[in-house]
Symmetry: C2
Subunit: 208 residues, 2 copies
Amino acid sequence: MGKVFVSIGMTLDGYVAGPNARPGNPLGDSGTRIHQWLYEVEAWRERQSMTGGASNPSGEIVEENFARAGAYVMGRRMFDEGELGWPDPPPFRAPVFVLTHHAREAWVRQGGTTFFFVTDGIEAALDRARAAAGAKDVQVSGGAETVREYLDAGLVDELEIHLAPIVLGDGVRLLDGVRTDLRLEPDRVVAAAGVTHVRYRVLMPGGG
Amino acid sequence: MGKVFVSIGMTLDGYVAGPNARPGNPLGDSGTRIHQWLYEVEAWRERQSMTGGASNPSGEIVEENFARAGAYVMGRRMFDEGELGWPDPPPFRAPVFVLTHHAREAWVRQGGTTFFFVTDGIEAALDRARAAAGAKDVQVSGGAETVREYLDAGLVDELEIHLAPIVLGDGVRLLDGVRTDLRLEPDRVVAAAGVTHVRYRVLMPGGG
C-alpha cells in the first residue's frame, strides 16, 4: 500500500495562504509570494499548460511529487477556491477526492483528472483515494484545515514543507490547532533557490 | 566589522518559547521541547559546566556560534528570565549588553561574561557590542521582541533558525508583528538529528 503524504508551501511564520482567500483569490492576499519558487519550475509550469521554466533541485521535487501521487484528497474550500484556476486540463491528472457535505456527481475533466465528491468523512475519502492510487501514494492536498484533520487522525505518513523565506503576517496558518503531541522526524532537507524543502516522517503519538 | 546575527530555536509552528515564561520558567511551559537537540550537544553542555554529550553536525554549529560571537545583545526580559539559569560561569564568556530602562552598574561574572545595562536604545547597545566584539560578530540573543526590533530596524545580517520538528500550539512567536517586507535568502541548510538548521541572509528591503 502506498503512503499518505502532504506537500505544502509555508512561510517562515507558518502561513499557507494569505488573508481573504476565496474563489478568484485562492491563495489569499499576497499568497502567491508563498509559491514564488514554484512558478519558475518547468515541471510545475508544464502541468499548468505553460512553457519554459527551470530544471533545478526544486523541479526534481515537484516531479517526484507528481510522479508518486496516484490520487488526491482535498477539502471543499480548496476545491471551491481552486476550481477557477484549474482550466482543462487540470494539473492533477489523477482522481481527486473532494470532502464535502453536498453529494454531487463525479466531474470528469480532461487529461486524467476526475473530481469525486465524498460525503462520508475523511477516512472514507482516504480509503477511496488509496484504492484509486493502487501502488502509488495519496496526496492530501489541502487546505490547512483538511491537512490538520488528517494529521490529527494519525493518517499522514509524510509531511513535506516547502519553507518560503518570507513573512506574511496574516492569513491561514497550517498548524494552528493541530495536535501538539504530533511526532515528526526530519528525514530529508533540500536547499534550493528561494525555498527550503523539509520533509518529515510523521510518527504516531506514543507509537513508531 | 563583524556581522550581526540571530541564532534561535523555533518550532515548526513558529514558537521560540512556551506560554507563561517568567523567572524560574525562562522557556515557558514545554519550552524545553524546542531545544531538545541542543541539550545533547557536547559544545553546549560544556558551556553549562556539564560533561558528556554528542559531537555531531549540530555540535559544529553550536561551536561555530560560540566562536564567532564576540559580544551579545539581549532584551531585559530574557535577562530577567535567564539570570537564575546562568550560575557562574555563565555560558557567554563575552560581554552581554542588556537593553533596559533602568540604569545599573555592570555586573562582572566569572569566565569572561560581563553584563552591561544599556538604557539608550537598540542602536546604542549594538554600537557598544560591536566595539566590544572587535573583529568578531555580535549575536542578538533574544527574546523574540528584541529580535524583531533589530530585524525591523534593518540591523541584522544573518538569521539562523534551528527548526525543531514539533508543534507547541501556544507561547511566544518569533516573527509575529515583524515587518512583512523582510527579505531573506536561504544560504545554508544543515540536516541533523531532531532539528534542521536553516540560515538566512537578511537583505535590506528595497536594497541588497
